[in-house]
């Protein structure tokens, strides 16, 4: 866990002082039995009230000093734990932006979110507990043993036996308990699953008249869970009685040894009481320590996962220097025998070659999973081709610096995404150029959308864009792409949620723009304005031509065309 030390850097002093102060507090606590022993051995027989008063004053003094140490230590450990978590979160968040999409896919978006939120949170708790207790609890346990040895070596042998025995009992019960608990937890997950299915599938289950079967199925799983729970509970229920019996056995032995030693004159009454008091302190701290180890080991598992993410090396690198000579090639985008596979899987694209001329509207047609989005993903280097070459403006995409390449290309995603911010900021991302904004709004048919909102351009988008419909979101994200002022616009099934009239207007607007547009669709109707269309099936190009020629020569194109137009022709 060395690699995490850097996140403590800015709060080093606090991180070091917190456990040290906690140690001081523990030391003070260990002194208490000694003063109580003094009261019994010296105060009581002599009847010296001043002596008793001062010893009790010392006890209160110890408590007050302990309180002070403890409060400062708690503060320092809170500062360093929360600070540590915060630095870690920021580092992780920045890390995500360094990673390529292939890296993120591998890590899994949901897993990444859990790393930054839940895992860091658990680590923070672990660090906080660790700083506070990691030194204190063992110190009290071992300190009590040492103190016992100082009081009386023979009596202290009881400690030397009792502490390891208790430790073994406490840890094995906790570990066994955790194991059984995990088993019972999976039973609970099954119950959750079944209930969820009963609720979401209520129509199907009733349509098939399966109500009684479902009740029985659940009862069966429920009984299994309850059994597992009972087993786990039986083990945990051992903890308190067993340690209690062991400690009392130790007390009995101690009293017996104490009796012999007092009788031989080697030990005083007060010293026996001191030993007895130390013994009582041990158990509480031992259980605290065992729980701490569990918390810390849980945090350790989170830490390991976080480290894995921090250690991922970005798989993409970009050039440093801008390409100065924009070759004024007539070809805006060119694919040369490009193949792509995501991760270990099969080929998403297989030997694709095509050219898009500057100013052309180019369509890509195909069903789900045919590779349409993959083609688009390669142009701004969201992913890197496994084989073949891609050129933008005559230059290999791999030669561009990140910013220059992504400035050249504007993308409208299949799933439109609006940030929780104003509509205006969602389109412009920063300072707005009013003329460009107006044009983007007009062409994308967003004027209606904005007009329908109370605050117009300043309307706040709610989380997940929930106050906008699918079609509205699509229009706004098209506006965003148009506002970006890039030469090339990629539209990934970007008008699927629009009604026919709006879609037509959008098409007409785009056709008027002086931009290279590449758009994908499942339907031939969605590509009406395309001058040429690339037809994909299972990642392979099965045609690339004008719509008229495709209709003549491309079977897949014709099939899709027929399916969508048969109804109309039948009239």
């Amino acid at each position: 866990m060395k690699s995490f030390l850097v996140f403590f850097e800015s709060r080093k002093t606090q991180s070091l002082l917190a456990p040290v102060l906690k140690l001081c507090e523990a030391l003070l606590e260990l002194l208490v039995p000694i003063f109580v022993a003094q009261i019994i051995d010296e105060g009581l027989p002599s009847g010296d009230s001043v002596f008793i008063w001062t010893r009790c004053a010392i006890l209160i003094g110890l408590a007050a000093a302990g309180l002070a140490f403890s409060v400062v230590s708690q503060y320092f450990s809170a500062v360093s734990a929360t600070g540590f978590a915060s630095s870690l979160r920021r580092a992780l968040y920045a890390k995500i932006n360094d990673l390529s999409f292939a890296d993120l896919d591998k890590a899994g978006a949901a897993a990444v979110v859990t790393r930054i939120t839940g895992d860091v949170e658990r680590l923070q708790t672990g660090v906080n507990m660790g700083l506070r207790l990691f030194l204190r609890s063992p110190f009290i346990v071992f300190g009590a043993v040492v103190a016992a040895f100082c009081v009386d070596a023979i009596g202290a042998t009881v400690f030397a036996v009792a502490v390891p025995v208790l430790a073994v009992i406490v840890f094995s019960i906790l570990l066994a308990g955790i194991k059984k608990y995990k088993i019972s937890q999976s039973g609970l997950e099954k119950l959750t699953l079944l209930t969820g299915e009963n609720v979401t599938g209520v129509r199907v289950l009733r349509a098939f008249a399966k109500e009684n079967e479902e009740t029985e199925k659940f009862a069966e799983a429920d009984e299994k869970y309850t059994k597992a729970q009972t087993v786990a509970g039986r083990i945990s229920a051992l903890m308190n009685p067993l340690t209690y019996v062991v400690i009392n056995f130790a007390i009995i032995t101690l009293l017996y040894i104490g009796g012999i030693e007092v009788d031989s004159g080697d030990l005083s009454k007060g010293q026996v009481v001191a030993l007895y008091n130390y013994l009582s302190q041990i158990l509480v701290e031992l259980i605290k320590f065992a729980n701490l180890i569990i918390t810390v080991s849980r945090a350790g598992a989170s830490g390991k996962r976080i480290k894995e993410l921090l250690d991922v090396k970005p798989s993409q690198s970009f050039a440093e220097n801008e390409i100065i000579s924009d070759s004024d090639s007539e070809i805006a985008v060119r694919f040369e025998n490009v193949s792509l596979s995501y991760g270990d899987g099969a080929k998403a694209l297989d030997g694709i070659s095509f050219e898009v001329k500057r100013g052309e509207i180019f369509g890509i047609l195909g069903g789900t999973g045919s590779g349409k989005s993959s083609v688009l993903n390669l142009i701004p280097r969201f992913y890197d081709a496994t084989e073949g070459k891609i050129f933008v403006d005559g230059n290999d995409v791999n030669l561009y610096p990140k910013k220059q390449l992504r400035d050249k290309v504007a993308v409208v995603m299949q799933k439109p995404f609006l940030l929780s911010d104003t509509v205006k900021n969602n389109i412009c991302f920063g300072e707005a150029d009013e003329t460009r904004l107006a044009e983007a709004i007009e062409v994308s048919q967003s004027a209606d959308v904005i007009a329908s909102k109370k605050d117009g351009l300043d309307e706040e988008v709610r989380r997940g864009g929930s106050n906008f419909s699918g079609g509205q979101k699509q229009r706004l994200s098209i506006a965003r792409a148009l506002y970006k002022n890039s030469e090339i616009v990629l539209m990934d099934d970007a008008s699927s949620a629009l009604d026919n009239i709006t879609e037509r207007k959008l098409r007409e607007g785009i056709a008027r723009l002086d931009k290279t547009v590449i758009m994908t669709s499942q339907r031939t109707t969605g590509l009406k304005c395309a001058q040429r269309i690339l037809v994909l099936e299972d990642g392979k190009a099965v045609g690339c031509d004008t719509p008229e020629n495709l209709l003549k020569n491309c079977a897949v194109y014709r099939e899709i065309y027929d399916l969508q137009n048969s109804d109309k022709e039948a009239e």
């Binding site: 008793i52 509970g233 229920a237 009788d263």
Partner: protein, 575 residues
Amino acid sequence: MKKIPLKRIMKYMKPHMPYLVLSLVCSLIYALSALFVPVMVGESIDLFIGKKQVDFNRLWSILGVISGLAAAAGISQYVQGVSNNRLAFMTIMDIRNAVIDKLQKLPLAYFDAKPSGEIVNSVVADAESLSDGIVLAFTQFFTGIVTIAGTLVLMFVYNPLIALIVVGLTPMSLFAAKYFSSRTHAKFALQAKLRADETSFIEETVYNNKTVKAYGRERAMEEKFEIIDENLRKTALDATFYSSLTNPVTRFINAVVYAAVALVGGLSAAGIITFGGTITAGVLTCLLNYAGQYAKPFNEISGVITELQASAVGANRIFSLLDAEEEPSDKDGKIISGPGNVELDNVCFSYDKSRELIKNLSLKVEPGKHVAIVGPTGCGKTTLINLLMRFYDVDSGAVIINGTDVKEGTRHSLRDNWGMVLQESWIRKTSVRENLTLGSDIDDNRILEAARLCKADGFIARLGGLDTEISDDSLSQGERQLLCITRVMLSNPGMLILDEATSAVDVRTEVKVSGAFDLLMKGKTSFIVAHRLSTIRNADMIIVMRDGNVVDKGTHKELLGKGGFYSDLYYGLVE
């Protein structure tokens, strides 16, 4: 504070009464034996007078008593723990089963009105919290009270003055604990809110990382994140620090009580104070031990009360689910069966009784006819299906299937007539076989034959056969839909309902699936909600719905000839 529905919980606890009695008896034994151990330790300390003065016979018998007490305490504590678990787990199991049984009897309206997560939560999380509450209450509540009472009595017997000091001072530590926990509550709530905000920001920008990167917003987002995170850090620091104050402060107060007992006890034992009577060193040791532990049961009880509050909220949710009104019984209903006659007679229905939906709808469909239902979103298409399946009961009028008013038949026999494929394909996390048969005992050959007819055999083989475990995420939308169609094909019902069954499937898959549908529908009375015009056009009757009413019905030709809403809709659809 919510009241705990004690009486109703007791009803479920009743069959497990022996555990309850055992638990209470054991906790009494445990608390009392544990209390007497320090007394015995004190007595043995008093034997340690000095050199050659220890009475070993007496010491032996005292040690014997201690081991007896410790054994009794240990055993009774274990038995108590195990009985508490039994009591709670079995009671909760019964409650959970009752809830699931109840779910099968609730009307569909209940499920449509409640988010599914809420219902699942009641069955799982609420029940767990109630179970925790029961265990904790029986483990600590009763024991705590016995311990407190016993300690008080013993202290008063030994030395009333010391007892008064302990009784007077200990509440300070309780107040301190209460003070800090109420102060930190608000800080924790704020922390939770900020954390949720941060999480949603992270989710938003990670799930949509493509947009962030496509527009080069990485740095801007990091800056925004840092502002959010700084707020969270500060609040977390506050919450963590303040909550961590409780322990040192209560520990300090307990140390003060301890010192006070040591002082007064020491002075009494030395014979300087005589008010409470003189005590021995052994009694002082025993009293110090009590003083050190007196606060513990109080803290435990207040912990139990907090836990019970959480349990009470859950318990009330569970019982309100159990109290929800069930569907009217159909025990004496007639068996509905026949060739597939469907009749709606002057049907009125609405979900929200203050807003009319379906009004005076009448309709007659002969066996084997195909009926297409068309209309804009929210026009009542799905509602009609809800009535045909008797997922909802009509407000007035009647749905008559095969000559029987569905209200007079049994639901099971009615639904046996129908096969249904919905827009949202429902796949459960189990084997392919279970998904197709839903637990019915059907021969594998028949299953595979149905799969072949529905063109589902190919991908089932690819998945690895009927025993392969599947879930929603492991299949594509098209594959899920094919399984749902196969499921209906297997049950081979006399009538069909297809509700936008292909709307979420892509174009090429739709071709495959529609073949399966044609096969399925052959010769069966079918109601189809569809967007594909060829399906609609081929129907024997088209029902045009708008705002909950049937505005027109007839064949495609007739309706188109009339002009009106249908032709608008039709040409709108084809552009």
